[in-house]
């Protein structure tokens, strides 16, 4: 039994630990790769120059998806703006909860799909969007809907979209660096002997080039799962009723209809994995490493501890 403030504090600590781990790994990987580059090419390519290039390219690629995330996702998901009359429950619940959470009211959208799901996006609380499917609005009662919307508002309040965008930029730059390195070693095999004793660092660099994009991706997913736990706890802080979110998650999980408009790019945004492909054996556990969301049982367990 933990009270909600303790849960919040421990979530924040764990989340920081994951993020610090990510930064340490990122620095180490970048350092090794740039050293290997230097040895390999036989000269220092402007110190961290090559890292800078990878960072800028990755940043440019992700900037659009970060800055226009709301508009892009909305057009991919074919959402329509919510209307107070037509989507009364959804609209008024979101209105009330944003009063309670002390954030500006997000823009609300509805996807016409019977699979119950919801997500939030937008770069900061002033440009936030909360989207729900018609299935969610119809299948949940008001208390359950409050739980789901509070979860999304809590993502917004804690700048989770911004955090995940930054993490994506970093993961992207590691992937690019590794790619540069692999391509360079493919083309210029003969230069290896220009500088003696560089064999080891090149070997390590090669190892890092192959492994670090995968490891970075795994840590990114760990960050994502941590933030889901945080958003669940944040939702309870707003509604003070874990039961609403618990029964909403159960209902959403029990529904086996996949969401048609969801794809790999938008999956991590939803409140529950929209693909519904779950296995409970060892393969399932291994696949769990690649999930954007923690397993439902773990989330329910954490929520039940609070009630």
């Amino acid at each position: 039994m933990q009270n909600i403030y303790e849960v919040q504090a421990s979530n924040r600590r764990k989340s920081w630990a994951v993020i610090v781990g990510f930064i340490l790994f990122f620095t180490a990987a970048v350092w090794v790769l740039s050293q290997a580059f230097a040895v390999y090419l036989g000269y220092e390519p402007g110190g961290l120059g090559i890292v800078g290039i990878a960072f800028i390219i990755s940043g440019l690629m992700s900037f659009g998806s970060y800055y226009y995330s709301d508009r892009i996702v909305l057009s991919i998901s074919r959402a329509r703006p919510a209307d107070r009359k037509r989507d009364y429950q959804f609209y008024s619940v979101a209105e009330n909860l944003s009063i309670g959470a002390g954030v500006p009211m997000p823009k609300l959208y509805v996807i016409e799909d019977t699979a119950p799901n919801a997500f939030a996006t937008g770069r900061d609380p002033d440009h936030a969007v909360v989207v729900a499917t018609t299935g969610l609005i119809q299948k949940l009662n008001r208390t359950e809907l409050e739980g789901v919307v509070a979860h999304e508002l809590s993502h917004i309040k804690h700048y989770d979209i911004r955090l995940m965008s930054i993490v994506s930029v970093l993961v992207g730059s590691i992937a690019l660096l590794a790619d540069f390195f692999l391509r360079a070693s493919f083309w210029g095999g003969g230069r290896r002997d220009r500088k003696g004793g560089g064999g080891l660092i090149i070997l390590v660099g090669l190892l890092f080039a192959i492994l670090s994009p995968i490891i970075a991706q795994l840590i990114k997913l760990m960050v994502s799962r941590r933030r889901e736990f945080m958003a669940d706890a944040g939702a309870v802080t707003i509604t003070r009723q874990p039961s609403g979110l618990i029964s909403a998650l159960k209902k959403i999980a029990a529904d086996h209809e996949p969401l048609e408009v969801a794809n790999k790019a938008t999956a991590h945004l939803y409140i529950e994995n929209p693909f519904k492909d779950k296995r409970k054996d060892a393969i399932g556990r291994f696949a769990g490493l690649f999930n954007t969301h923690p397993p439902l049982e773990k989330r329910l367990e954490a929520l039940e501890k609070m009630s």
Binding site: Y88, S92, N96, L97, I99, G100, G102, N141, I238
Partner: protein
């Protein structure tokens, strides 16, 4: 410059940054608490404006429920008076008075299937629930902000800043220390009916 001087300067910079951001936390919290109080007044006003509406549409079906109707009328008068005076505590008390009437109306509605199926009444009940939710959430925001402020004011290390600039303890909403709201009445235990 030697390493020591750089380290000392860096530590000083961190300390100053922390002190400034802690100070800003206290100042901005105070401003947000003031805004939260205004928000409660705002929501109570919105609720008050809904009551004449409720009264006129409830007149028809609440004829036999004289007591409820009278309670509603007096709640409306109290709210109107409180809104005029602009005093938050008074508004909040009047809102609480209203909050006691609403469950009675919903029970009366639940017990009468004829009324329950009426579109206007359903809509009105939804609006009522919504407006009392809004008041509740605006109060919650105030409670949370005040709690955050007061916790930071007494916990180490932010308390040093708080005492240096003598930030005083703030009061949230007063709740009466005794009374019905601290007890569970039989109508509270009734299992809620779910309309799907």
């Amino acid at each position: 410059m030697s390493v020591e001087i750089i380290l000392i300067l860096a530590a000083a910079a961190v300390l100053v940054f922390w002190a400034v951001s802690t100070y800003n936390f206290f100042v901005s919290s105070k401003a947000r608490i003031k805004a939260a109080k205004e928000e409660i007044g705002n929501q109570l006003k919105r609720q008050a404006e809904l009551i004449p509406n409720l009264e006129s549409s409830a007149k028809g079906f609440l004829k036999q429920e004289k007591a409820i109707f009278e309670a509603l009328t007096s709640a409306r008068k109290a709210v109107a008076k409180a809104v005029k005076s602009g005093d938050l505590q008074e508004m909040s008390d009047a809102g609480a008075q209203l909050a006691q009437v609403i469950p009675q109306i919903s029970i009366a509605v639940e017990d009468n299937p004829e009324i329950k199926s009426d579109k206007v009444v359903t809509r009105l009940m939804e609006e009522l629930r919504d407006t009392s939710d809004k008041v509740m959430f605006s109060r919650r925001l105030l409670i949370d902000l005040v709690a955050d402020y007061n916790v930071r004011r007494v916990s180490v290390p932010s308390r040093f800043i708080a005492s240096m600039f003598s930030f005083e303890e703030l009061e949230g909403l007063k709740a009466p220390k005794e009374g019905e709201h601290l007890e569970v009445s039989s109508s509270d235990i009734r299992a809620p009916k779910v309309n799907l």
